[in-house]
């Protein structure tokens, strides 16, 4: 065994498949999209090298920054919603009746495809026949909102299904982490007279803080590159009110035939994601973290 692992050739052989995959599917495309960002290219004809022009346009592009802002709003909302997921998991993990069933129910949205979820919520948000407005009308609201058609609330209306969609995923992670907290510790606390709330806040939470940090990272990065529901539900409209970075990139590249500029947006998105990941790591790092 030791022989095998010290043989450099074998190590190289073992890592080769994974390395090849990750190179071909991830790193080379990243470099290429940075390179395409230097080109004026409609995706069909000849590429012409235009230097940093696309990136300069990008920095001056108000539409890009407004879509970046929308992405950040989504990141903030989904990070805040982690607290809600955590609260739910704490309840679920405390051996209440039916927690097994509830856990499965929360998981359902995760099993649906994004497009199905989008279609479902588009029906709910339909201004005249939708469930949301029928319900509001039932409670006597007169000027029911037009949801996805109103630039002021379209983006927030989409946040609702997004948060609902990912609930199952995060609840599952927290639930698993909470189940890993050793029973002995909790029993000891109980004997010492700790209340359930104290156990949750002072014992369980610190013990799963590592998992919590990972989920913050996942939520932030996932939100920044979020695409599917926005694309299906509003296509970034009305008039750009719900455009996010990824949908803008898609639109420039595939709808407007600006593959060069689209690539530049993609590269900008990558940089922003990297910076945010680094920042989140920095902010959530605590003294007792040992590398």
């Amino acid at each position: 065994m030791k022989n095998v692992m010290s043989n450099k050739f074998v190590i190289a052989l073992y890592t080769l498949p994974a390395l090849l995959l990750i190179l071909v599917l991830i790193y080379i495309p990243i470099v290429l999209s940075g390179y395409y960002g230097l080109m004026d290219w409609d995706g069909i004809g000849q590429m012409t090298f235009i230097g940093l022009e696309n990136y300069v346009t990008l920095i001056k592009d108000n539409y890009f920054w407004s879509s970046t802002w929308h992405s950040f709003l989504l990141a903030i909302f989904s990070t805040l919603s982690l607290l809600l997921y955590l609260a739910i998991s704490l309840v679920l993990a405390s051996k209440i009746k039916g927690s097994d069933l509830l856990r499965k129910i929360y998981l359902i949205p995760m099993l649906l495809s994004s497009v199905a979820i989008a279609q479902l919520w588009m029906k709910i948000f339909d201004p005249t026949n939708g469930m949301a407005n029928t319900l509001l009308a039932f409670f006597g609201v007169e000027n029911t909102p037009i949801w996805l058609a109103d630039p002021a609330i379209a983006l927030y209306a989409i946040f609702i299904p997004v948060i609902w969609q990912y609930a199952g995923f995060y609840i599952l992670i927290y639930y698993a982490a909470l189940k890993n907290v050793p029973d002995e510790v909790i029993e000891a606390a109980k004997i010492d007279g700790a209340s359930p709330l104290q156990i949750a806040l002072k014992i369980k939470l610190p013990l799963i803080s590592g998992v919590f940090k990972v989920t913050i990272m996942l939520a932030v990065v996932g939100s920044l590159k979020y695409f599917d529901l926005i694309y299906v539900m509003t296509g970034g409209g009305p008039n750009g009110a719900s455009e996010v970075m990824a949908s803008y990139m898609y639109k420039e590249a595939f709808k407007l035939n600006n593959f060069g500029y689209g690539s530049a947006i993609g590269f900008g998105l990558l940089v922003i994601c990297l910076v945010m990941t680094w920042l989140t790591m920095k902010l959530t790092k605590s003294k007792d973290d040992v590398q």
Partner: protein
């Protein structure tokens, strides 16, 4: 132990390999016969966008035409690959980027087609076009510098469909002037009926309303000149058209939340008789005539009228917004160009003979209405088409992709009240001016 490791290494490789292969296998599947083509046959690859499930009528026509062509030309094997509309658009782009276009494929007109022609992807078809067989103007939409690069299949004009029952109930008649039209809208609003359904999330839907308004007020030249830069988008007629639309919106003429509804959702309001009028191109005709999925009772209630004229405006009632839908191209780098061209020409002819009767699609080729047993609505529309004084191609198709996006966004902003008519005109003028 060592053996086991080696084994797992092999397995890992195999797994990685199969992943890579799985990634490739999607691209070269599905041929028309599913058979291995024999080597002595000339294979012509074709891509189209009428899947058997969602566009059965068109699928069957194309399939039959291919079969009869293969019978007449036993040395040719036509292999098809079929994708839905949006996937088709994307796949074509990816294929052209890697220079692997199919021999024959579907393209849209004017602005969409231009980059392909400029990128030298499509073969000129002047040798097989035979312009006489097409309705005037349709081939032009697929021509660049006087040469056709695709042969048009479909032609559409946009009437306003209306629900006769709702109109009768409120003692209304199909309007011919804009004043009558406004009266219809006012009456319906007073009676709590949604006058017009509009899926303006898709934006081109609202653009058609604007185009008609601009045509009726300023004549077809106003908008055309603004786009081809011999005029300006800040032309008073174009601003006035925007103002009229805005006043329609303020009256509550359009369905609630139109900016968030897709065309399909908006169509639902008309089909469910929750809205009285719907402006859409003639590709909707099958739903009101031949489609077996729609109840006859509803079909009988649907009528259509031409977009009304505005008093003092320059446009006349026989001027239409419309244009050819899709056309067939032959790839420039195709190795079987001659066979592909012959097939395209054949397909266009056969399509013209069968599309109205079998699919309810109006072809771009001249139709003889006397021989076929057609629904009255088709005969009326085809006659209107024969009397058309002008056909204005959809604005977003005329414009290049970038400007079209500005136009479409401004349409949403105008309807939604985020742009005033002046801002609406100014923004588009700037975008058009910046392009040249």
């Amino acid at each position: 132990m060592k053996k086991k490791k080696a084994f797992s290494a092999v397995m890992t490789m195999a797994l990685a390999g199969s992943l890579v292969l799985a990634g490739c296998s999607g691209s070269d599947s599905s041929s028309s016969e599913g058979s291995e083509s024999s080597s002595d046959k000339t294979v012509v690859k074709m891509m189209h966008l009428w899947p058997e499930g969602s566009s059965n009528a068109q699928y069957t026509i194309v399939d039959d035409i291919i079969k009869s062509y293969e019978e007449a030309n036993p040395d040719v094997d036509i292999q098809t690959e079929i994708l839905g509309n949006e996937q088709y658009k994307e796949k074509i782009k990816v294929l052209s980027a890697s220079n692997e276009l199919p021999d024959v494929g579907i393209s849209w007109a004017a602005g969409y087609m231009k980059p392909f022609v400029e990128g030298n992807m499509f073969a000129p078809l002047d040798d097989v076009a035979q312009p006489d067989r097409f309705v005037a103007g349709t081939l032009d939409a697929f021509s660049v510098d006087g040469k056709p690069y695709a042969l048009p299949l479909e032609l559409n004009i946009t009437p306003v469909y209306y629900n006769k029952e709702i109109f009768e109930k409120h003692n209304l008649e199909a309007p011919t002037t804009y004043d009558e039209f406004v009266n219809v809208v006012d009456t319906l609003v007073e009676n709590d009926v949604t006058p017009i359904t509009l899926g303006n999330k898709d934006r081109w839907t609202g653009s058609m309303w604007y185009m008609y308004m601009a045509d009726r007020i300023g004549g077809p030249e106003a908008l055309n000149n603004a786009i081809n830069r011999t005029g300006s988008f800040e032309d008073p007629a174009l601003v006035q058209a925007a103002e009229e639309l805005k006043s329609l919106v303020d009256k509550g003429a359009f369905v609630k939340g139109f900016n968030g509804l897709s065309n399909d959702e908006a169509k639902g309001y008309f089909m469910n008789e929750q809205a009285a009028m719907y402006l859409m191109a003639t590709w909707e005709l099958p739903n009101y005539t031949t489609s077996p999925d729609v109840a006859q009772e509803f079909k009988d209630k649907v009528g259509y009228f031409k977009f009304p004229t505005v008093e003092g405006g320059k446009g006349d009632i026989d001027s239409y917004v419309g244009g050819p839908g899709v056309g067939l191209f032959v790839a420039e780098q195709s190795k079987v160009k001659d066979e592909a061209k012959a097939f395209v020409s054949y397909l266009v002819d056969e399509w013209g003979k069968r599309s109205v009767v079998d699919a309810g699609v109006i072809p771009a080729t001249v139709v003889d209405t006397s021989s076929a047993d057609l629904d009255q609505m088709y005969i009326d529309i085809l006659n209107d088409l024969g009397n058309a004084t002008n056909l204005t191609l959809y604005a977003d198709v005329q414009m290049s992709a970038g400007v079209a996006d500005v136009h479409l966004n401004q349409i949403q902003a105008l309807f939604g009240g985020q742009s005033t008519p002046e801002e609406f005109a100014k923004t588009q003028e700037e975008a058009l001016a910046a392009e040249k």
